[in-house]
């Protein structure tokens, strides 16, 4: 194996020599060449790198032949990815050789969204964008620009450019994803833990569809535990997902009532004295108030709210407490569902706390992290203006650096508290990621300037003025990333092949802009310098060389109980695990989770719910030919009962409408959803013609989702939309 690997310098020389050939050889051509077994082919090269198709960052061994990526294999050295590579990870090869991808910088030649582009040089693209950004800065101040991005190893450079430019308006993905769960666990434990599904014996999941929305190592650990009958899995979801199919018990809970289920479990566990008394006394605060509070939430009451029989709730609560500490109420990841999301996650956290699963094998474990170095760059002044989403006023507890997406859009559209006229976007597609697509398009069209950095023509890029093509992850080297967890690791993404088109890594795009914005001093470093500074302190000999060879450095043996000493101070106001949170009370929120019943859809209406497939995480993945072929078009899931009432059969064309908008989509009549809910897959009905497989195919959920958010975290509430369905 080792002899197949080369160091990066030699590798770059080899690939540079093969670069001309790369541009013309198609991938299939190369594969055929290989299959015929021509002995003259050079031996394949194996490069260790890290996947970018979703946030899991699995370790990959890329096999390169003649300068072309032949196959991506899982790298078993990563303790988090557990020697696997999912469908998305395998399909990343197609991302590189996708004829649809962005191949050179583009400047808009027609109206916004018309799809007329002029291919330009990098210089022209940088000059044009810098001129526009400077004009906006002069007219509206630096706060007149918005810098939005989603997580990625090179996101930091983009955020830093926005900050160095002087804008307070950096907005990141969490409020379209997991902000509420992060905030709720932080408010309780002072940190966001991981769940030890490998060793758990009892797992409850509220809508966390772990067998389709793959998270490492949780998905693999859960299937191992659950299918080897080590763990019992209780699953609540309005849909019969793969996770439901594998669960020991599935309850199609009434949407938005998960908190009632959890509070009733607490009622049983506290009322029957089944909690971990010693743990509660030593490590928590506010138990008496909790006990008093949950007395009202009886299983009989919860049955009426959730539709789950009271005897099942009692039984589950008892089993859960008996299995503790090897029992977890799993937090989930995309926790953007309902307006009460933060408080629902708080209730989960409290339930976990009282059974004493904290920092125990098979329970909830605070994340370990491998320490690494940092590149020290020149700091800039803090922005003078406040954030446009007025975070301090609207969401005092929300993560300052991430912003709140929907509030931000509302304020920008209203021009409050000041005008925002420039929008830079990195690696994100707000047109599909945010609910109410019409509002996002209005926001785009109201901008004086929109610049997008991406690898493919997203719907957002389609409405931009300048599009900067970023090299795909297999064509670039990224910063080292620390992956906190029960099995912590650091992963390194290194260049596998040279860029096959006229693209650049994000750092170089940022530097190109910085130079013209006279901000070069803040970005005066190379990727190698950055990475070497990070690698310096890693606990291994010759760390940079090690990472180049292995791509990952992981710790295989988890540690439990590090925080279980009576003098341990949790990062909360009281220094204890806060069952009752004074801080929440001071900020005007319920210090204990108070249940408020959800509204039900009116007759003839359905609640729209969202979810993922193992093949798709992000909206751009539907345009990958190796993933698209499994689900070429999305359709609207509808239970046979309402479908029969409306005379709808599978394949019928439907009009689905909400207050936000309406779409046309085919029906899929299925038993696998509650009669009062509908569901569609994300990432279809694209506006950009350069998403050729899904342009105008199916429908985009973003069109019909209405704007709603969780009041504490500002996290978008994606399950608060009621739709009308009509056969057309």
């Amino acid at each position: 194996m080792a002899s197949n690997r080369m160091d990066r310098r030699t590798f770059l020389q080899v690939t540079a020599a093969g670069a001309a050939a790369t541009a013309v050889v198609t991938q299939t051509g190369c594969l055929k060449y290989f299959e015929k077994g021509d002995g003259s082919a050079p031996p394949p090269l194996e490069v260790a790198t890290a996947c970018e198709l979703c946030p899991n960052k699995c370790s990959v061994l890329a096999v390169v032949e003649g300068g072309v990526i032949r196959k991506l294999n899982p790298n078993p050295e990563n303790p988090k990815s557990r020697g696997m590579l999912c469908a998305r990870g395998n399909a990343a090869v197609k991302q590189v050789y996708d004829p649809d991808r962005l191949k050179q910088p583009l400047i808009r030649a027609g109206e916004r969204g018309e799809g007329k582009w002029r291919a330009v040089s990098w210089d022209e693209a940088f000059d044009y964008a810098a001129k526009k950004l400077s004009e906006i800065k002069q007219k509206y101040g630096p706060e007149g620009t918005l810098w939005s991005s989603t997580e990625g190893f090179q996101e930091i450079f983009f955020k830093n450019l926005g900050s160095a430019f002087g804008s307070p308006n950096i907005v990141r993905h969490p409020t379209l994803c997991l902000a509420s769960v992060n905030l709720a666990y932080s408010a309780t434990f002072g940190t966001v833990p991981s769940f030890d599904l490998l060793n758990a014996e009892y797992v409850i999941m509220s809508g966390a569809n772990r067998f389709e929305a793959i998270i490492t190592p949780d998905t693999m650990d859960l299937i191992g535990s659950a299918m080897q009958r080590k763990a019992k899995l209780i699953y609540l979801d309005p849909r019969f997902t793969v996770t439901a199919a594998k669960a020991d018990q599935w309850f199609p809970i009434r949407p938005g009532t998960d908190m009632a289920f959890i509070l009733a479990m607490l009622n049983v566990i506290v009322g029957e004295g089944r909690y971990d008394k010693e743990f509660v006394a030593t490590y928590t605060t506010g138990f008496d108030k909790l006990a008093e509070h949950v007395a009202q939430y009886t299983p009989d009451w919860a049955e009426k709210e959730t539709g789950i029989p009271a005897r099942d709730i009692v039984h589950i609560a008892r089993e859960f407490a008996d299995a503790a500490p090897r029992a977890v109420y799993y937090a989930g990841r995309r926790s953007s569902w309902y307006r009460n999301d933060f408080q629902m996650r708080r209730a989960q956290a409290i339930l976990n706390a009282v059974v004493g699963n904290w920092d125990r094998e098979g329970g909830m474990v605070p994340n370990a992290k491998i320490a690494m170095g940092e590149y020290l760059f020149l700091p800039w002044d803090d922005p003078k203006a406040g954030r446009v989403d007025e975070l301090d006023k609207n969401f005092p507890l929300a993560a300052k650096g991430d912003g709140v997406y929907l509030k931000l859009r509302e304020n920008v559209l209203a021009g409050k508290p000041y005008p925002v006229k420039g929008w830079m976007v990195y690696k994100q597609d707000p047109v599909n990621a945010m609910p109410d697509q019409a509002a996002t398009l209005r926001m785009l069209k109201g901008m004086d300037f929109v610049g997008v950095i991406d690898i493919a023509m997203s719907d957002t890029a389609w409405f931009a003025d300048v599009v900067f093509p970023e090299s795909t992850y297999l064509e670039r080297t990224d910063p080292i990333e620390a992956m906190p967890g029960i099995w912590p690791a650091v992963v390194f993404r290194q260049q596998v092949v040279k860029p096959i088109h006229d693209t650049k890594p994000n750092l170089e795009i940022v530097q190109g802009l910085a130079k013209r914005l006279e901000l070069s001093d803040y970005f005066d470093y190379t990727m190698d310098q950055w990475v070497e500074a990070q690698a310096k302190d890693l606990p291994v000999k010759e760390p940079f060389e090690y990472l180049k060879k292995h791509g990952v450095l992981g710790i295989a043996e988890p540690k439990y109980g590090g925080t279980l000493t009576p003098d341990h101070r949790f990062v909360t106001k009281s220094g204890k695990i806060e069952l009752f949170s004074e801080r929440l009370g001071e900020s005007g929120y319920d210090p204990l989770p108070v249940y408020k019943p959800p509204t039900d859809p009116r007759p003839g209406e359905f609640r729209m719910v969202l979810g993922r497939k193992g093949t798709f995480t992000h909206a751009n993945q539907t345009n990958n030919p190796w993933l698209h072929e499994f689900y070429p078009e999305n359709s609207l899931w509808l239970n046979p009962k309402p479908a029969a009432n409306m005379g709808i059969k599978t394949g019928d064309m439907l009009e689905v409408s909400s207050m936000a908008g309406s779409v046309k989509i085919k029906a899929l009549v299925t038993e696998e959803i509650r009669p009062d809910c509908v569901f569609m897959l994300h990432g279809y009905g694209k506006l950009a013609k350069w998403q050729s497989l899904v342009y105008g195919v199916g429908a985009s959920d973003a069109v019909i989702l209405e704007t709603a958010w969780d009041e504490v975290s500002g996290n978008a509430a994606f399950h608060e939309t009621f739709v009308k369905v009509r056969k057309v």
């Binding site: 395998n90 090869v93 993933l627």
Partner: protein, 184 residues
Amino acid sequence: MAEKTKKRYALVIDSRKCINCKACVVACKAENGVPVGKFRNWITEERRGTYPHLLATFDPEQCQHCQNPSCVRVCPTGASWQREDGIVLVKFDDCIGCRYCMIACPYNARYFREDEGVVDKCTFCVQRVDKGKIPACVETCPSKVRLFGDLDDPDGALAQMLMTRRYLTKKSETGNGPQLYYLL
């Protein structure tokens, strides 16, 4: 045993662990250059029941590398052939694209490659196996549904598994002797 080097490759499949994520299908596509729209392996879904009493099962399937492969028997040119280790292959240079083998295969495991005019199928990733690696579908699987190994090695993990677990084979009544063992 005199013939210690003799091997008989087979797969044991634990369908209960399959989450229908398609990783094996895409890995195969990448490893073997399978065109879009064609598949060497696939996952059969079975869904039953009425809301809320539902059941769904997923079965990964591919060529069974049978003991008595009917595809090999019907091939008029000898293009379909079987190695000593049981792997059934198609010699593209000898395949005339008559597709008799596709009709003869009880598992519908073969597909026609229009671009080459030949029939293609799962090879157990011979190019990997001959280098001591495991097939791409086996390696990439998140939940490790498949176990690849040598049936003739009594101490091997695969033979051990079959000794201690109950299993079934698909369409064994055809007499083909399929070599994919599905655990019960």
